[in-house]
Point group: C2
Chain length 116, copies 2
DNA sequence: TATTTCGCTTTCCTTTAGGAAATAGCTATA
DNA sequence: TATAGCTATTTCCTAAAGGAAAGCGAAATA
């Protein structure tokens, strides 16, 4: 008879969740995707739409989101050159996560409020 | 005619998403909830079920999850005293987020694999 | 011509997350 | 009695995230 109960396997769920977290981790990535998704396409627009977001952080996050093929950087070669950002189709696959998190956050606020 | 197009409002989504992130942020919290959810209830079991998780971090995260009423710490006063952890009912509300992230992670792996 | 705006980049700094290792108090087992 | 296991805690450290502020080149505006 074995002394120790072996732990329950959970890696089949833990691993993919962690893979996801590696892409959308941090304080800002989802917010940026949401902002671009609702129509903000210029650097300054995105920055202004998200309180507290500094240009340095926005610049860095946009690059990472580009690398993950979630956001596209578009340079129009007309005169004058303009830079804009839009969502890649792949970003749409994040919609269920974003909605689940939005719903949870709204419900959580309500819960916190009731407890006071 | 105004020169500047005003940015699009996105705070109605951005804010609750950020509220959610404040609760489940970091590398480990969701993994710990998953692990406890599948039946790991002892400190060491949880730790062993999640590769790379150190006792210090587990200890800290468990406290935070307790404060957010997602995990319950149970002390059995029998002899010998045992400590175990289980999910609070409130943790079940995270299920949609966890499944959405699991699905996304699995799909993302597939996508990355195809591209190589 | 001077000033402002845009889309960043750079520098500097602080805070936080997280890892490694040792340890402690208790119980269990040999 | 000695050793091992459980549930952490503590200390020390590094790396990464993130914030504040300045600046820069090109273009637009006054």
């Amino acid at each position: 008879m074995p002394k120790k109960k072996p732990y329950c396997e959970c890696l089949n769920t833990v691993k993919p969740v962690r893979d996801t977290l590696e892409v959308i981790n941090g304080k800002w990535k989802l917010s940026i995707i949401i902002s671009v998704g609702v129509g903000n396409s210029r650097f300054t627009e995105i920055q202004e739409s998200i309180p507290g977001l500094t240009p340095k952080v926005l610049s860095k996050e946009l690059k990472e989101l580009e690398q993950h093929q979630l956001i596209k950087r578009i340079i129009t070669n007309d005169y004058p050159v303009k830079i804009s950002y839009c969502l890649e189709p792949y970003a749409d696959t994040l919609t269920p996560i974003i909605y689940a998190m939005k719903d949870w956050g709204l419900n959580h606020k309500k819960k916190i409020f009731q407890e006071r």
